[in-house]
């Protein structure tokens, strides 16, 4: 047992300080306002304060810390994308992740488990080879593995997939990891709070003042704030905020669902994804199976659950692992995924000066939490996009310079 736990016994009172300070009200002016206390907003606040000494900053959250997609996601962290821009960006994130628990002095349960994307068809295997080659080129561990290796590493898996979609290979990505999502938001939140950033929960942004093409303030459910820099990091609510300033984006919202089983003793270490079956699975430290699938097929601004999602997901999962027949699903939920046409995010400046956008995180943004925070903080302070995010600008849709990640991000998250 670690010594650090001794303090809970030796001290009479619970020896833990408050993670988030209570503030009586909003200040009239902030140097920067961040909309959305999800992982991304909080990470940006943290790096603004830590790396750039900018602390007169507030984070406004209409609900509670981490209550958006951050607290709903299935926490797959990986960098085996298909474009060099994507691979470098997510690889930077993975490296930040690996030190994050230490940075925060908070255990994020960052667990490197390895990540397999299964191929059931030639075409899938071809895309995996492409990814493996681009990854290796960028110094990221990725390789195409054959059925023998899969049989060795995941011996309990039915390689014939119930006889109808035999597995012919996989993309293996050793750094693939999972983490405890809520703790990530708390870690960034606490770190920002300790450095003077104000986090205001239950504070909704209702409007944004723009004067002569520049941001001048934010209207909230608790009053007006003057500021010259606003970061919008609201994932599924992005279209609503952009409507406030009349900026168009190609973001469209689809629900993304997930479900979790009752806890059971560990039997599965790696994270497994099957693009053809549209399913993925990992086992959490608590022993629950965390199960997900691809997007709901239609646009909808809602976090309702559907029954057919659980039916399809269970059916496909039992093809891979028939022995889960008796395992029970306790809970299902949904988030609103802010999708982009090329499955890459939208980051950086916008036509409104002082208004910065961090959006288009769709089904894949959790893993980017550290790097997006870091690069957006840089972008806000210098008013120039961080070199890692130039491929993700809003302009790219106007300029037909897309960053095509569909091949690596559709089911894999």
């Amino acid at each position: 047992m670690p010594w650090r736990l001794l303090r809970f016994v030796t001290s009479g009172k619970h020896p833990e300080p408050q993670m988030f300070t209570h503030h009586d009200g909003l200040k009239k002016v902030y140097d920067a306002v961040i909309i959305g206390a999800g992982g991304h907003g909080l990470a940006a606040a943290y790096y603004l304060a830590r790396d750039h000494g900018m602390t007169n900053v507030c984070v406004l959250e209409k609900g509670y810390i981490g209550g958006g997609n951050t607290g709903r996601n299935t926490t797959i962290i990986r960098s085996n994308y298909i474009t060099p821009e994507g691979v470098q960006f997510y690889d930077t994130s993975v490296k930040l992740w690996q030190d994050l628990s230490q940075d925060f002095d908070l255990n994020l349960f960052y667990a490197t488990r390895g990540h397999y994307t299964l191929a059931h068809t030639d075409a899938a295997l071809r895309t995996m080879r492409w990814r493996a080659e681009v990854n290796k080129h960028c110094g990221v561990e990725s390789e195409v593995v054959g059925p023998e290796e899969l049989r060795r590493e995941i011996p309990m898996m039915d390689m014939s997939c119930g006889g109808h979609a035999p597995i012919i290979g996989a993309l293996y990505h050793a750094p693939g990891a999972i983490a405890r999502h809520d703790a990530v938001a708390w870690g960034y939140g606490r770190g920002a709070d300790q450095r003077g950033v104000q986090i205001h929960q239950q504070t909704e942004v209702l409007g944004i003042e723009v004067t002569a093409g520049r941001v001048s303030g934010v209207r909230t459910s608790r009053g007006f704030i003057a500021t010259s820099k606003v970061l919008c990091a609201v994932a599924g609510s992005t279209p609503r905020i952009l409507d406030m300033i009349g900026v168009r984006s190609p973001i469209y919202i689809h629900p993304l669902q997930a479900m979790v089983s009752e806890p059971m003793k560990p039997w599965l270490d790696p994270i497994l994804v099957s693009g053809s079956l549209h399913v993925y699975i990992s086992q959490s430290a608590r022993g629950e199976l965390v199960l997900g699938a691809s997007l709901d097929p239609y646009e909808l601004h809602s976090t309702r659950s559907t029954l057919d999602f659980t039916e399809g997901l269970a059916a496909h999962m039992l093809e891979l692992f028939p022995f889960l027949s008796h395992v029970k699903i306790v809970r299902q939920w949904a988030g609103m995924a802010d999708m982009t046409p090329d499955f890459a995010p939208i980051m950086g400046k916008t036509p409104i000066e002082g208004f910065y956008l961090d959006a288009g995180w769709g089904t894949w943004g959790f893993k980017a939490t550290p790097v997006s925070g870091k690069t957006m903080a840089h972008t806000m302070v210098t008013d120039t996009p961080h070199p890692l995010i130039t491929g993700f600008s809003l302009d790219r849709f106007r300029n037909y310079a897309l960053t095509g990640e569909k091949g690596a991000a559709s089911v894999g998250h």
């Binding site: 736990l5 080129h137 059971m264 299902q332």
Partner: protein
């Protein structure tokens, strides 16, 4: 063991004493009766410890006996996490408690109970994250956490699924639900009423409290319900989730039934809530309702000598039930300082039972070994605080608590109901119900028995009226006179172990600490403490957590609010969700012919297609090579029936095609075909095919196999949107298609048709309608493989006859079938692209070398605007043909290997193959423009990291003048 706790036979008991059932628990032999649950049988046999808790491995026994806690969670062979409280006993069961190490009694992990002070709420966030050691700690956590074990050899369980419909669904067959069912059915609605219990009646069957009249009234309702022609009563089935438009998942132990109702009445009752005091989790501390279930359902005496903790009339009624069934009630302890005595209380007083008001239990005193209750320590209780100075101990072997309820509102939440906290009943009640959703009984805050029946009647009548049966009756439901729920049933203790959430071993101080750390709203508190996140999903813990939070932050429970209740109500096995799992596989009409000819099948989407035809003593590559040779030098035949086959008819058919494809079709001559490329709005190539004009207003066209479904859907969508004067018909499954290709193909065809096949009468790219082997057919002189050939489309039912006729006609020429692999190579030799392989999600027609097909001067086509913009930009990449050096001897590059130029990624191989005819590796690559110049060389990096040189080569590689397919041989 003897049934020493079994009561004499009781009327209405659920057990069948004629059928005794033998089973094993933790290696020991037990006996129960049919109708027993695992827990009731064990309890009857004196087994108090049913399991160990999740975190501290504390012994646990019956608590709710209703699946509102998971104290008794068991492994039963391949079944894991079996809920003993509600699982019917079966002969020969071999059970053990989950999550123990070496058995229930030994379990060395129980030491964690003594270490609990080291392990406060969220302790795992505060340590163990040293980079080097975390993986090891994670192992430890994973081993300690988790409940049951999956048996990796469990076979896939295939279960049926059922579908049902009704006008009014009633969830819960207790008194209010039964009343609602009758009211709705009497008004003419067809009603389904479901209950998760093995028998209907709900609390009316066991919350007797000395008033048998309640049970009689419930039974009378039940008799009417069963007899009612419009009511279907289903028991042993639970509503697992409510989904949009009254779509309900009903789950029993064999299957899932999906029911669509026109209206839903939630009469799900309420969950009895624990009082929080030290050791409130000891085996022997039970909810009042659990004691009553034990008695009236299973005829089991819950204990010998009880202390009853209460804060409402229900508690006194339980005490009466206990006394009636031979339990000595040592004392009744009422948390309330003042109250109006109820009838039961008066009766108990007359019996001389010791009673204390304004008093609480501060601690359940454990027996040595902590596996049971030895006594209750009580103390004066005022303003939510116990006065330790007044503490005194009352010996007993069981504590029964009845201090309040929480609505079973899960489905109401899922349906989108807005709930409000009602100060009178001290619980959340529906405030605004969505259309077609109704609530009655306890979930609606109505507790008085008679009032519940009226409330049921009201809701049932309203639901029936909502769906058009009868008039909504006005029924006035009397308001509750007192609350059944105590606002603060929580007693602090310096030594803790006063549990709020039993699944997660959360104690009162965990909440205090969490709030101190800033997790001070209900959602954050839940996530940090994990309250309500265990298998019972907060049924016994959410309400107390909310009360604790409200007090800690000095707010009203109303302001604190609840967390969202998501499906499922109770967990659902994956097998039941999955059902049988159907996999539609599509076969072309000639499938059996292919099989007979030795086809090795591959899947192409849903379709099965011959990859190649196996031959004796020949390997795959040899077979493919022979197939290729036959097409190049003789004649081959391939089934292309998987292509999308569409027809468009109407005055604006040509205009429609001009809008959706990049080329021009208005000027296509009748009887001719033209290649067709489709883009999306961003100008990216998404599909290709061939468009044939049959008449001025009539076209027949094909799509790729993989695109067929999506393209038809998209075209239908566009046609709906544009409202053009044309209609689209999908013939994909209705037509068979065969491609006859090779220099001898015309001779073969000539043997089975009277059509004039001369080049003049049936030129390249023409379409003709006529008979082939007596079958009406459409013939197109096109071909992916670059030889003289015909694509022949016939009604699907004639496909086999056509195939047989062509094979017979071709036999003098040595005709052979060829598969997808040979076709891929043949087309590569011709430099034809495969959309989706040689292009990707960003490729424009210009980049793919299909620019010639794009008619930018058309008024409009999908993707045109984007292509206009893209066309002005410098090209980023280009598809080129390449050849490897003849001398290349090492491993060949594979598709998707990268082109590396100056150390940077400059493209990728999209297709590659060995052409034995050209005696070279040939391929297509998407490369940057500077590498796309004729005769330019570039380097491909293969898997082992070495570089292979390729040379840009014009396509087609084979027959560049296109003589083979166009000119008469």
């Amino acid at each position: 063991m003897s049934n020493n706790h079994r009561l004499p036979r009781l009327p209405g008991e659920w057990i069948d004493r004629a059928h005794s059932i033998e089973f094993e628990f933790e290696g020991k032999h037990f006996q129960g009766f049919a109708g027993d649950t695992i827990s009731s049988a064990l309890w009857a046999s004196g087994q108090r410890v049913l399991g160990r808790s999740f975190k501290y491995h504390r012994p646990r026994g019956i608590f709710s006996l209703a699946n509102h806690d998971v104290n008794g969670m068991m492994q039963w062979g391949q079944k894991l996490n079996v809920r003993a409280d509600v699982t019917l006993l079966e002969m020969g069961m071999q059970l053990s408690a989950v999550n123990t190490f070496g058995g229930l009694n030994k379990d060395p992990a129980k030491v964690l109970n003594h270490l609990s002070r080291f392990l406060p709420v969220g302790f795992y966030y505060k340590a163990f994250h040293g980079k080097r050691l975390f993986p090891r700690w994670e192992r430890v956590f994973r081993t300690l956490a988790g409940l049951g074990k999956v048996n990796l050899s469990t076979p896939r369980l295939l279960t049926p699924k059922d579908y049902a419909f009704c006008a009014v669904l009633i969830v819960g067959a207790g008194p209010s639900g039964l009343a609602a069912a009758l009211a709705a059915a009497d008004q003419g609605a067809d009603v389904v009423i479901v209950d998760e219990n093995a028998q209907a009646g709900g609390s009316g069957g066991y919350q007797i409290g000395g008033e048998l009249a309640k049970r009689e009234a419930t039974e009378a309702l039940l008799v009417r319900v069963i007899a009612h022609p419009r009511i279907r009563l289903l028991t042993g089935i639970y509503a697992a989730g409510y989904y949009t438009d009254h779509w309900i998942a009903l789950v029993d132990d064999k299957k899932m039934t999906k029911l669509r109702a026109e209206a839903v009445v939630i009469a799900a009752g309420s969950f009895e809530q624990p009082a929080v005091f030290r050791n409130n989790d000891l085996p022997g501390v039970v909810l009042g309702s659990a004691a009553q279930r034990l008695i009236y359902r299973y005829a089991v005496r819950p204990m010998q000598r009880a202390v009853v903790l209460c804060a409402n009339a229900d508690g006194y009624r339980v005490a009466l039930d206990l006394i009636v069934h031979g339990v000595m009630v040592a004392a009744i302890v009422d948390l309330r300082a003042h109250h109006q005595p109820c009838d039961a209380e008066v009766e108990l007083a007359a019996k001389g039972v010791e009673m204390h008001t304004g008093t609480c239990i501060v601690e359940a005193l454990p027996t040595p070994g902590c596996s049971g209750v030895a006594g209750a320590r009580i103390a004066a209780f005022a303003n939510g605080v116990a006065d330790a100075a007044t503490a005194r101990d009352i010996p007993c072997d069981g504590i029964v608590m009845s201090v309040g309820w929480a609505p079973a509102a899960n489905l109401l939440y899922q349906a989108g109901t807005h709930m409000r906290y009602d100060d009178l009943v001290e619980q959340f009640v529906p405030d605004a119900l969505p259309p077609g959703v109704f609530a009655c009984g306890r979930v609606n805050g109505v507790y008085d028995f008679k009032a519940r029946l009226l409330d049921g009647e009201r809701a049932g009548s309203a639901a029936a009226a909502h769906v058009g049966f009868g008039e909504k009756r006005s029924v006035s439901v009397p308001v509750e006179l007192e609350s059944s729920s105590f606002p603060w049933p929580i007693v602090a203790h310096p030594q803790g172990k006063n549990f709020v959430d039993f699944d997660e071993d959360l104690q009162l101080k965990d909440f205090e600490n969490a709030v101190q750390e800033g997790f001070d709203n209900i959602e954050l508190l839940k996530r940090f403490t994990t309250n309500g996140m265990g298998p019972s999903q907060g049924k016994h813990s959410n309400m107390n957590a909310l009360r604790i939070l409200a007090r800690l932050v000095d707010k009203h429970p109303r302001e604190v609010g609840t967390t969202t209740a998501r499906p499922f109500f109770h967990p659902v096995p994956m097998a039941l969700l999955a059902g049988r799992g159907f996999h539609p596989v599509r076969r072309t009409p000639m499938h059996l012919r292919h099989a007979a000819m030795g086809a090795y099948f591959m899947s192409a989407g849903d379709w099965q297609r011959p990859e190649y035809y196996a031959r004796q003593h020949k390997d795959r590559l040899e077979c493919i090579r022979e197939e290729v040779d036959m097409v190049r030098h003789g004649v081959g035949i391939i089934d292309v029936g998987t292509l999308g086959k569409l027809e468009i008819i109407g005055p604006q058919a040509a205009e429609f095609l001009e809008r959706v494809y990049v080329s021009r079709y208005a000027n296509l001559k009748i009887g001719m075909t033209r290649y067709a490329v489709m883009c999306d709005e961003t100008g990216v190539v998404v599909d290709d095919g061939v468009v044939a004009r049959l008449a001025e207003d009539h076209f027949y066209f094909t799509t790729t196999t993989s695109g067929a479904t999506a393209i038809y859907r998209e075209l239908s969508r566009l046609n709906t949107q544009w409202q053009m004067a044309c209609g689209i018909i999908n013939h994909t499954g209705a037509f068979a298609a065969i491609n006859l290709a090779g220099p001898q193909s015309r001779k073969v065809l000539a043997r089975v048709t009277t059509l004039d096949l001369s080049a003049a009468a049936f030129p390249y790219l023409a379409i003709r309608e006529g008979k082939v082997a007596g079958i009406p057919a459409r013939l197109m002189r096109v071909g992916f493989v670059g030889e003289w050939g015909y694509e022949i489309h016939v009604p699907a039912e004639d496909g086999v006859a056509l195939w047989d006729a062509l094979v017979a006609a071709g036999s003098p020429f040595g005709i052979r079938p060829f598969g997808v692999e040979a076709q891929r190579l043949l087309r590569l030799e011709k430099g034809h692209v495969i959309i989706g392989q040689d292009t990707d999600g960003l490729t424009t027609p210009f980049e793919a070398g299909l620019g010639w097909a794009v008619k930018m001067d058309k008024p409009f086509f999908i993707g045109q605007r984007s292509l206009q913009i893209v066309d002005k930009q410098p090209q980023r990449q280009r598809l080129v043909g390449f050849r490897l050096d003849q001398a290349h001897g090492g491993p060949a590059p594979q598709e998707c290997h990268l082109v590396i130029h100056d150390g940077a990624i400059s493209g990728r191989i999209t297709s590659i193959g060995w052409s034995h005819i050209l005696c070279a590796y040939i391929g297509l690559a998407m490369v940057t423009p500077e590498l796309a110049k004729p005769d330019q060389t570039f380097e491909i990096r293969i898997t082992d990291g070495s570089l292979v040189v390729a040379r840009v080569t014009p396509t087609p590689f084979y027959d560049p003048e296109q003589r083979q397919q166009k000119e008469e041989a």
